[in-house]
């Protein structure tokens, strides 16, 4: 740029000054003409409005000159100027206009053009005093306006076709910073970085005005091509990265300043902020609602400290300080070299404020230091009709949407066992964009490399690959398949295979579609997706009972539900086969293992009435909390039951010999050698937290779900021993448990039993008797 755009704007302002001054025919006394707004500060774009303030000594004088004023304005219009004028008395200029904050703001940039100099001088004297005295309401109005404007653009500057004036990080935000300087009583004092951004944005806005020959500020794809060509700066996508760099500088400066001013003006906020400073710990301190490193130089020796900061962000929802950001940014190569372990990343991704942490990892560059595979989607513009944001921003908005998902999607999210895996799937779902070839295949490749490097468990890797590979499956089905055609459900069930994957894919679809632009996820569409989820869920639960393994390499596997094969890897199957062999010789086999935060008990035994209840009872008698359970039977009548449980008193950790005792007790109970009721007499009394919102127990029977069994679904408030009570109510009624799937979310237990009596569905009278006893069991203790 040979000539600075700002001087071109000033030239234009000077031209207009001359026209206005020449065209005026107003009384010389009691009236003055002021330039205000952008024109006032000599930043006049070719087709912007000319903001004039006609200052009249009194309202009466203004009314008397009504026709003179309109003649004057008409002359300016005829000269080709788009005038936007207001007529005010000095008194009106020095009062706070809550309904019209723009008027107060426009006066910050006023300058004298012509007319009664004394009248103007009087206002010029009063104005600084007014601004000083009304600083607080003016700042409040200004920041409210800015916040509303940001919200209109979803609080992001990563728009594919941004409005260079209004979008976050645009000229309006630059101006906001200047105004806040002025309201503090000084002159605008932008940093060199902001001045650069201002020149860059001004150049674009001039270009847009001249191209459209009107006040048009949207940086369209067409204009991006034109500007890229003009600057000889590679292609438009590359040129746009420059735009985002400048917009980011402006937006971040503006939001920081807004936060600082808002914090000052709200004592309630200050109290909250001070309370948050108590979150400080030996590594991090929270000052003014931002996290700082206590000893930043430690970062040189412990690169993991950077990830520790993001874990803090994810846990407490407090953003990093500017210092912390810069300290991390300065050490990115080290972080990249060192890499990150999945265990550490999963901790960040599982915490409640994970989206905020991911956003700041992205902002500081830490995300692409850990996952260089994501670097090429940064600020990447992929042009289509629907997407509104760059690929990286779309991805982060999707992660945020996951946490904001309403209604049934919120419940579904609570059922996700490994949220960190789902989050990684979203993070990489579009990582293949911009590569030229199929973005799905490339995305899977990129994710595969990244997951191997961070050493993610194999089963989780498979889930992520599945999610990326199929991330468009459900939205495609919504558009092109008849949801109520049974074939749709069958086809999709064959693709997703398990309920767990279906849940993750449904949530990913919800997050992905709603991150395309703020209006695309209408209630209509959300409902369509939910319908699709329901029919596929129904299909998968139906299959649970009816789809069985037919030909298997080992007789033990024959007749197990196909779900078994889909949810267990080769190593687990080997372990189960070893247990089956043990069962052959001993009549029962029980295995207890640590599973990350929980424990798992696996048992194989010949089926007998009350077996499942007995196993559940032996765990309850030890004070264990059952989180999930599955029970399957094979063709030979052997059962394979798996219980995932939590050990609230860390009994098994602290006394390893207790593991053997638990196994022994379980084996005796399973084989019927000890009385289960006797066991439970000694069980620790349940201590339930008193909660106002109790979960109402619900029992429902479904005969249509399976061809050979009756499905019972029970939703109840979880409590110790609940599963035993339910299972023994079923056994006592003489029904046989074929398949069980037990899940808990917070205090809610969700249990699905497939029951038969004499190898058939339960007759209606048995169902109603059983319903009563199950309902009794779901009553809180």
């Amino acid at each position: 740029m040979a000539i600075r755009p700002s001087s071109l704007l000033a030239e234009r302002a000077a031209e207009v000054d001359a026209l206005v001054i020449a065209g005026r025919e107003l009384p010389e006394s009691g009236c003055a003409i002021l330039a205000v707004g952008g024109y006032g500060r000599r930043q006049l774009f070719p087709y912007s409005d000319i903001d004039l303030l006609l200052l009249f000594e009194s309202e009466k004088l203004a009314l008397a000159n009504k026709s003179v004023i309109s003649d004057f304005l008409r002359r300016l219009w005829d000269a080709g100027l788009r005038v936007s004028q207001s007529v005010r008395t000095p008194a009106e200029c020095v009062e706070v206009h809550h309904g019209n904050p723009e008027l107060n703001v426009s006066l910050l940039d006023q300058r004298y053009l012509a007319g009664d100099r004394n009248l103007y001088d009087d206002l010029a004297r009063r104005l600084p005093r007014f601004l000083q005295a009304s600083r607080e309401p003016l700042v409040r109005n200004l920041s409210q306006l800015a916040r509303e404007r940001h919200a209109k653009y979803a609080d992001t500057f990563y728009h594919l076709e941004p409005d260079v004036k209004e979008t976050p990080g645009g000229l309006r935000d630059y101006q906001l910073l200047c105004w806040l300087d002025q309201l503090r009583g000084g002159a605008p004092d932008p940093s060199p970085e902001l001045l650069d951004a201002f020149e860059f944005l001004s150049h674009i806005r001039r270009f847009l005005h001249l191209a459209a020959r009107r006040d048009s500020n949207v940086l369209t794809f067409e204009a991006q091509d034109g500007l890229a060509e003009e600057s000889h700066d590679g292609d438009a996508a590359h040129w746009m990265r420059g735009y985002y760099r400048h917009a980011r500088a402006v937006f971040r400066a503006a939001t920081r300043r807004l936060e600082a001013t808002e914090a000052k003006s709200s004592s309630l906020f200050a109290q909250f902020r001070d309370r948050r400073s108590r979150l400080s710990n030996p590594d991090f301190s929270v000052v003014r609602d931002r996290v700082h490193f206590r000893e930043p130089h430690q970062l040189d020796h412990q690169p993991d400290l950077a990830l520790g900061l993001f874990e803090f962000v994810a846990r407490h929802g407090v953003r990093p300080s500017l210092d912390a950001e810069q300290q991390i940014a300065a050490r990115l190569p080290r972080l990249a070299e060192r890499g990150a372990a999945w265990t550490a990343l999963a901790r960040v991704f599982t915490l409640p404020h994970a989206p905020l942490a991911v956003r700041w990892m992205h902002e500081t560059g830490a995300l692409s230091a850990v996952f260089p595979e994501l670097a090429h989607i940064e600020c990447l513009v992929v042009r289509d009709f629907y997407h509104r944001y760059t690929v990286d921003e779309h991805t982060i908005i999707a992660i945020e949407n996951l946490l904001k998902a309403p209604g049934p999607y919120r419940d579904l999210r609570a059922e996700i066992e490994r949220p960190a895996v789902l989050l990684l799937g979203i993070l990489f779902h579009d990582s293949g964009k911009g590569s030229g070839s199929s973005h799905v295949e490339v995305g899977v490749e990129l994710a595969r490399a990244a997951m191997a490097r961070v050493d993610m468990p194999a089963a989780d890797r498979e889930t992520v690959e599945f999610l990326i590979e199929r991330h468009m499956e459900l939205s495609a089905a919504m558009q092109s398949r008849d949801v109520y055609d049974p074939k749709t459900a069958r086809d999709l069930a064959a693709i997703v295979q398990t309920v767990e994957r279906l849940k993750a894919l449904t949530l990913l679809t919800y997050a992905d579609v709603s991150a395309v632009n703020p209006t695309v996820m209408t209630p209509w569409r959300a409902e369509q997706l939910w319908q699709l989820y329901l029919i596929v869920y129904g299909e998968l639960t139906r299959e649970l009972q009816s789809e069985r393994v037919a030909a298997a390499p080992h007789p033990f596997l024959e007749g197990l539900p196909t779900r078994y094969v889909r949810t267990h890897n080769a190593a687990e199957v080997q372990r189960h086969l070893a247990l089956a062999a043990e069962c052959e010789t001993r009549g029962v086999a029980v295995d207890i293992n640590r599973r990350e935060a929980a424990w798992e008990l696996t048992l194989i035994a010949p089926d007998r009435p009350g077996l499942f209840a007995a196993a559940a009872a032996s765990l309850s008698s030890f004070g264990m909390n059952i989180l999930r359970a599955e029970a399957f039977a094979n063709r030979a009548g052997q059962v394979l039951d798996t219980f995932t449980f939590e050990d609230p008193h860390r009994n098994l950790d602290l006394n390893p010999s207790e593991i053997d005792r638990l196994r022994e007790i379980a084996e005796r109970a399973i084989t019927g050698k000890s009385d289960v009721r006797e066991l439970l007499r000694n069980r620790p009394k349940p201590s339930l937290p008193s909660r106002k919102a109790r979960i109402q127990g619900r029992v429902s029977f479904d005969d249509a779900a399976s061809q050979t069994a009756t499905l019972v679904e029970i939703v109840a408030e979880d409590r110790p021993g609940l599963l035993y009570d339910l299972a023994s109510a079923i056994s006592e009624s003489g029904a046989n448990i074929e398949v069980v799937l037990i899940d808990t979310q917070a205090h809610k237990a969700i249990d699905v039993f497939y029951l038969t009596a004499d190898r058939a569905k339960l007759p209606p009278e048995r169902q109603s008797a059983l319903a009563q006893s199950l309902e009794r069991a779901t009553q809180p203790a």
Binding site: D411, M478, Q479, S480, R481, D482, V483, Y484, T522, W524, R525, E527, Q528, Q531, L534, Y537, R698, V699, S700, D702, E713, I714, V715, I750
Partner: protein, 112 residues
């Protein structure tokens, strides 16, 4: 001039649009709607909770066509939206008294 209003299955939208494009019709208004006709909806059970899906998601197409072509358009929509099952939707045709292009005040057929 006739106004055509068609309520169709959402998954048929692309097909119908393509079919109309093939006979040169590409101006239309599309909205996401809910409703039911004789296909009364049904009950779903999820997590032990029964809930009725009585208003089914549908798509509504609206367009105004000059008199000489509306039969052809109605036929095109009907054949492309048909699956033969309950819930395929309906087409309504209305007489239109006047059309005005806001930009230049064109009237009648030339405003379409």
């Amino acid at each position: 001039m006739k106004k055509i209003e068609a309520i169709i299955q959402p998954f048929k939208l692309e097909e119908v649009k393509e079919a109309l494009k093939s006979i040169g019709i590409d101006g239309m208004t599309i909205s996401e709607v809910r409703g039911h006709g004789r296909q009364k909806g049904h009950k779903e059970v999820y997590r032990g909770q029964e809930y009725t899906v009585d208003l089914l998601p549908k798509v509504k197409l609206e367009m105004v066509i000059d008199d000489s072509r509306y039969e052809e358009v109605v036929q095109k929509i009907a054949t492309s939206a048909r699956t033969g099952k309950i819930g395929d939707g309906k087409i309504f045709v209305f007489d239109v008294a006047e059309a005005v292009r806001i930009r230049n005040n064109d009237r009648g057929d030339s405003a379409l």
